[in-house]
Homo-oligomer: 886 residues x 2
């Protein structure tokens, strides 16, 4: 049951965003569903009511019971409403977020306590400082590895892929949820430079998926896949929103990192859920007496009347540009570390064998370097991430006039003070060390994000620039009446937004920063820095999430660059595959076999005939395989045998009459239609469960996938493997036929082969196959820009190119990807010079089109007359005759 519902869910997600796909299978599913509901109704609700009423009318509290029942029914009817779902989601996520924060704080407290308690012996202190995070990280890695390797990493790249309509196995299950929550808590509790924001997006999505599955027990509306996708989009917003208590920034950030096109109606949903979630998250803090009232997480207290001078803007711009380069470098470094680990075969093999060695090693190195009495004293090593941010956003100027000694360090600010160096050195060391540490730490196979570490580095960089400015202009730049000193904390805010914006390629980090600090006075500096950082980073490197998508080889569609005009001049005809295999309506089973042999396309076009090439629809590869295996099935063979036995005396029966009998058997022709419904079902059922059957075969050592995907380039070819299974299945079926025949059948292998050859020569009966009657069509002249828009709008992975109904080619995600990357880098695809298409191609192509139409028209002129006169005229004619002979 579980695996079957899995299969159904997988099927639903697969159809997500594939607009006009009508499948008979879905119809069957719907009927099953209706039957199930009716059964349920019959089983539970309908009979329960009278019986319960009967039972309780004798009792005293009968009215109460009736009332309760009515309330229950009312609640169940409300459960289907969107807002109920969103409130529940927000509530659950706020609780999860708060509980995790609490657990993480306790973990960090424990480490501090251990470290503080052992201050008599430095060695013991070191041991405690190093062992604690190592144990936690190793546990996290191991636990995740064993329970659900899909929980590793940020989760945003995967969510981006899922929201595009791609099915990723096991990414939204309870197992992954548990693994991610526990793994993340341990990982963050270790004090490593890791973030919780990316994983929270994943956790919220899983929460939404689980919640919708749970609520579907009460009502059938949660079964709808379009709705589920919309809820997932809202869940992403909730994830960011309740992580930072930043509802607006959360919604915008989730839109920017997960979507290419965004439905404004989801925006509303996201706001609703994220606000509720952030509200509950902060109210929990108030109830827990952590705060007096609801305020921002990292509240700042910059002056409001004169936040910054106009002449400070160049300094903010410098922060932005430098952050842009820094962000690109971070993404590059992160990718290089992963690629280096993969290339080094010997290291790799060793690490693969002992999977937990790599996390332990990295943790050991990082925690050794941050050991406060050791090197950590130069980089404020004793501060947790949260404390670091609080100190960096501090209102005071640390280095008045460049002499650090003047400054009175208070409380946790002391960490930044070193007796033998000044604040600038500490900040520079902190930035440099944290930079590579964060890039390295985020490659550890535990659930972790990179947003927070990058945010901290950015804040430190901003603080550095701010302190320098404060040292340079001790009395501020403003020369009028009042003296307004420079606020280095403001620079830290700008730096944090800029660097995190550069790494993630988002502008909404600006909004997150406002919501985190509770002040919006620096809006213009922040916006300018974030935009400059984005402009620089986007021209150098992909975003961190896109980089991970490429490393993990998830299906993706690159963004169109900014202002590259070639994209308007490259057309579909330049990039499409012209030589495609197709299935004709009048083909034989042998042709199907041929097509399956010669191509690996997941969807095959169905055309009217090889001459007309009129596109009728598309048929899935698995469907073709099913048709073939059905034709060659032992059942049919046995049937034929039995028929042969029956007509033993009269074996003059011609081949064609057998074929006739068979075709009436399997096709749903006019006679005896109700009886013929039955044999269709098992065939369809087998097909519908095939997507669930095949992947387990392809991924036998399931536990290793995540590690493999980080270390070996070849391990992540799952999607292509799945393509092959359909044909292999056909082969397997054939082999099993042979085996069975040898065991119990009376036909010799030679006879079977002969029988199969016979069967292959029969014309295909498509009546039992599910055909998508309206696959997406483009025309040759559609520009690359438009094609990209349509593919990302509708989440397509392929489209057929037609010319007046005739199939002329096909464009898949692969070609489009090649074309876009080619047009941006100048290689790969023939990029035509601007206006080239105006000069030469129009003449030739319009001619070609006209000729094609003319041929079609001519053909009709020739063909139609005899057809009308001949016996082929259908009854359909009657209904439309008025049109032609008025």
């Amino acid at each position: 049951m579980a695996s079957e519902s899995e299969a159904q869910r997988a099927l639903q997600y697969e159809q997500t965003l594939m607009y006009g796909r009508y499948t008979q299978d879905l119809g069957t599913f719907a009927k099953d569903e209706a039957a199930r509901l009716r059964l349920q109704e019959g089983d539970t609700a309908r009979p329960r009511r009278p019986s319960e009423l009967l039972e309780y009318t004798q009792g005293r509290c009968a009215p109460c019971r009736v009332c309760a029942l009515q309330c229950q029914r009312f609640l169940i009817s409300k459960v289907g409403e969107d807002w109920v779902f969103l409130i529940l989601l927000g509530l659950v996520m706020a609780l999860v977020s708060w509980a995790m924060d609490f657990a993480i704080a306790t973990c960090l407290q424990a480490q501090k306590w251990m470290y503080g308690g052992l201050d008599t012996n430095v060695l013991l202190q070191y041991m405690a400082w190093v062992t604690y995070p190592t144990v936690l990280i190793t546990f996290s890695a191991g636990f995740t590895q064993i329970l659900a390797p899909q929980a590793v990493g940020s989760g945003i790249p995967e969510m981006k892929t899922i929201l595009r309509g791609v099915v990723l196995k096991e990414y939204l299950t309870l197992k992954t949820f548990v693994a991610k929550v526990i793994g993340l808590t341990c990982a963050l509790g270790s004090g490593m430079p890791l973030g919780k924001e990316g994983p929270f997006v994943h956790i919220a999505s899983m929460c939404a998926a689980l919640l919708s599955r749970f609520l579907s027990l009460f009502g059938g509306f949660y079964e709808n896949e379009a709705r589920n996708i919309e809820m997932l989009a809202a869940a992403c917003a909730v994830g960011v929103g309740c992580c930072f208590a930043a509802p607006i920034g959360g919604v915008l950030f989730s839109i920017e990192v997960t979507s290419t096109f965004f439905a404004v109606r989801n925006y509303w949903r996201g706001f609703f859920a994220a606000t509720f979630s952030a509200f509950i998250f902060r109210v929990l803090a108030v109830w827990n007496k952590d705060e007096e009232t609801i305020t921002a997480l990292f509240k700042t207290r910059f002056r409001l009347d004169f936040p910054f001078d106009l002449q400070e803007l160049p300094a903010f711009a410098v922060i932005g540009i430098a952050s842009g380069f820094g962000g690109a470098l971070f993404v590059y470094l992160n990718r290089k570390i992963v690629q280096f680990m993969r290339r080094q075969k010997t290291i790799n093999r060793f690490l693969m064998k002992k999977r937990l060695l790599f996390p332990a090693l990295v943790t050991l190195i990082i925690s050794t370097l941050t050991f406060p009495p050791g090197f950590g004293q130069f980089m404020a090593g004793q501060l947790t991430q949260k404390d670091t941010l609080v100190t960096l956003f501090d209102n005071q100027t640390w280095a008045k006039q460049g002499i650090s000694d003047e400054f009175e360090y208070l409380g946790i600010l002391e960490a930044w003070l070193h007796p033998r160096s000044n604040v600038f050195v500490t900040l520079v060391v902190f930035i440099l060390m944290k930079f590579w540490m964060s890039a390295l730490a985020t490659t550890i196979p535990v659930p972790c994000g990179a947003f927070m570490p990058v945010f901290v580095i950015g804040a430190a960089f901003g603080r550095l620039v701010g302190e320098s400015m404060a040292a340079w202009f001790p009395d501020g730049i403003h020369t009028d009446s009042n003296i307004y000193r420079i606020v280095p904390g403001g620079y830290a805010v700008v730096g944090a937004a800029a660097l995190s914006g550069a790494v993630t390629h988002t502008v909404s980090t600006a909004v997150i920063v406002f919501e985190l600090t509770g002040q919006i006075s620096h809006i213009l500096p922040v916006m300018i820095a974030v935009i400059l950082a984005n402009a620089v980073a986007q021209s150098l490197q992909p975003s961190l999430y896109d980089s991970i998508i490429r490393i993990k080889k998830l299906p993706y569609l690159p963004e169109l660059g900014w202002g590259h005009h070639e994209k308007y001049n490259v057309r579909v005809e330049d990039i499409m595959v012209r030589d495609i295999r197709y299935v004709t309506l009048n083909c034989r089973y042998r042709d199907l076999q041929q097509v399956l042999h010669s191509t690996k396309m997941k969807n095959l076009p169905l055309v009217e005939s090889a001459e007309s090439m009129i596109l009728l629809g598309s048929i899935e590869r698995t469907q073709v395989g099913a048709l073939l295996s059905n034709q060659l099935s032992p059942q049919r063979r046995l049937l034929t045998l039995r028929q042969k036995v029956l007509s033993e005396d009269g074996h003059r029966l011609s081949d064609s009459s057998i074929r006739f009998q068979i075709s009436t058997e399997t096709s749903s022709g006019t006679p005896a239609r109700p009886a013929l419904r039955k044999p269709l079902k098992p065939a369809l059922k087998r097909v519908s469960s095939s997507p669930a059957d095949s992947p387990p075969a392809g991924s036998t050592d399931h536990t290793g996938i995540a590690l493999k995907s980080l270390f070996c380039a070849n391990a992540t070819t799952e999607p292509t493997e799945a393509q092959g299974t359909a044909y292999h299945k056909v082969k397997r079926v054939r082999i099993s036929i042979v085996e069975e025949m040898i065991l119990g059948d009376k036909m010799t292998p030679a006879e079977i082969l002969e029988w199969e050859e016979q069967q292959l020569d029969q014309p295909v009966d498509f009546s039992s196959a599910k055909i998508d009657p309206a696959p997406f069509q483009l025309v040759e002249h559609t520009s690359l820009h438009k094609t990209h828009t349509i593919f990302s709008l509708l989440g397509l992975d392929h489209a057929f190119v037609t010319s007046i109904g005739r199939l002329v080619g096909m464009v898949s995600l692969k070609e489009l990807r090649k074309a876009i990357e080619g047009s941006l880098t100048g290689k790969g695809v023939k990029v035509r010079p601007p206006l080239a298409s105006f000069r030469d191609s129009t003449a030739s192509t319009t001619e070609a089109d006209t000729t094609a139409l003319h041929q079609l028209w001519d053909r009709h002129q020739h063909h139609h007359m005899p057809r009308e006169a001949g016996p082929g005229g259908d009854d359909n004619d009657d209904t439309t005759k008025g049109q032609r002979d008025p």
Copy 2:
């Protein structure tokens, strides 16, 4: 020239977002364009360089010139970049916004000065107070009316329609721009309760359109219509951004009010341009010494450490819910006023005659009521909108302990004080009076928005609640150590965001409020209130912009409601039109005439034949008209006559041979192809210019449209009028044929009629018609939800419904609109109960589908054999034979 480029632009917009439409016409246009560019190149750049170089090499500053030329060329190459365009747009809009603010401030200053100078005589004071705004508003209305009636009103509804891909005539021209800027300045300078935000969206869009036309003089990239739409989306963000100096809120607000689906890449563009624009806008204020540094427009100074207590949240929620009802009431009132003015025939006729009377009358009433020594003393009548907001957001509590006398009113705050009443009365009167005044004022036919008036009313309402709370809890609610008093200014901020959010159905007013006040400390109350207000308002009324769209009868697609599950269960087959007219490939001209007579569809489906019904493409109505008129053109008749004369002796020539000759004449068959290119062009040109030609004929009294659209329901049927013109044109052509014949031809009318009847019996030659070979197709089982998504994603206005290639129906915007509004209100369309489709329809429809496929398959079984044997086999066979006989 102007009208021709107009026509080309109109054509471009028309094709906007219509994905796969390939038109030969576009090809021709592209070729013309290429020729023009080549010519330009030849005319200016190419020959100028050598000649200039020759000219200046003799002179002294030859290297300078060469350098300047290279710089120029570099600049021109950069002009095509997106960011250059966006910076220019931001710069221009910031200057426009600042200059307008300056002019408005001067106007208001002048009124104040006049009012102050005449304080000796109340009557004279009253005359000055009333005359000044009346003159300004009357001038604004008259000026707009004369120059460009399209400039009337907000502009956001029109931009929403334009971004959906609909062409609105004259909405983005220089004339409208001038009319809107000057009209808006005068209207706001009058001190009426009008806003500048909606018109600014329109102004920015016009600015973008004009700028892109201007820049297209330097490079050809601005001709691309997809790019223009993207730039318009960015321009909307700039409009809001530079109006409020709110870049983030501007982007979000413009997304919410103009889009259904939003491309994240435009988001980036919007942020870039809006930030730049807001920056320049505020820098201008600093340079003008209005401000010391860059700060928010309506800066608040609420305390940061304890912005509000948790127990105040219910009060904020009350503000939100009340604002929701208030917002819905405002939209309702606004609509009712417009409808009332339209219904009252006598008033209407009188007002239509004296168009400027209505604005003058309304202004008179409103300004009389706000006259400070009169009724205005009870509603702070002397304050301008800006001053009102500043006082409402004030930090102090006006009514300490409910006794207004205790409070020391300072400066402009005095306006709220009345010796014989208290603050509460003043606020209540202000809210009530301003409410209907704003609703009335926004119906005046001048360029004006409703955002700001609503914002002020919301702030006043919030203030009222805040003051009440302050009076109720004089020492705050918080009971712990510190006393935190209630801040009524914070309530005003919440109220402003909530009411404006309710009227516009947006959440981003929250962000606008943060950016306007420069404080984000009230984020949770604001978000909660805005969301509640939206929830209430959305369930009661459409947004103000959607309401205007319906009043103006612009094409629109209603939003799907929240949580209405029926939308998943209504399917295309329930709402589609089954009885549609179509054109077959083998039809005769008479059939075309028949089809044009019998339907008003803009796009006709082209099917293979009436039996197969395989959809080959769609053909525009104008194209069909052109085909017909071409067939019956006098030129062809004269040609026939001449041929008849030539073959006078041998008039035994059969009809068919004439037809043959004619068909080779007009079709572009294989022989003599290059020569046949020519006759295609004039026909296509006429068609391409027809969208520009027809509307002037439909709208003769151009100046009256905007007023009419406000007062008469029938005047705004422009879009449907345009549909009819194509056929009327055909008729006109026929009439002109008859006339010409009478004048100079030798054929009698009877002969001509006979000839025409003959011509009508000939088969249609489609080779010269432009056919969209990939019209959008849906299948019968597509859900309403999916259909809505696809229509709004792709900006479709119709889609054909197919079943395995066969045309079975059609869905247009109208049906969809009916279905959605029906499913929401429970009337209009048959709304099936949930799961009804699971129970009954699947069985019947899958059967029908299977039968259809089977028939098709059967037909092929029967037909293909003889066709293969017969002489009809094309040469195409060779290329695909490998497929069939391996």
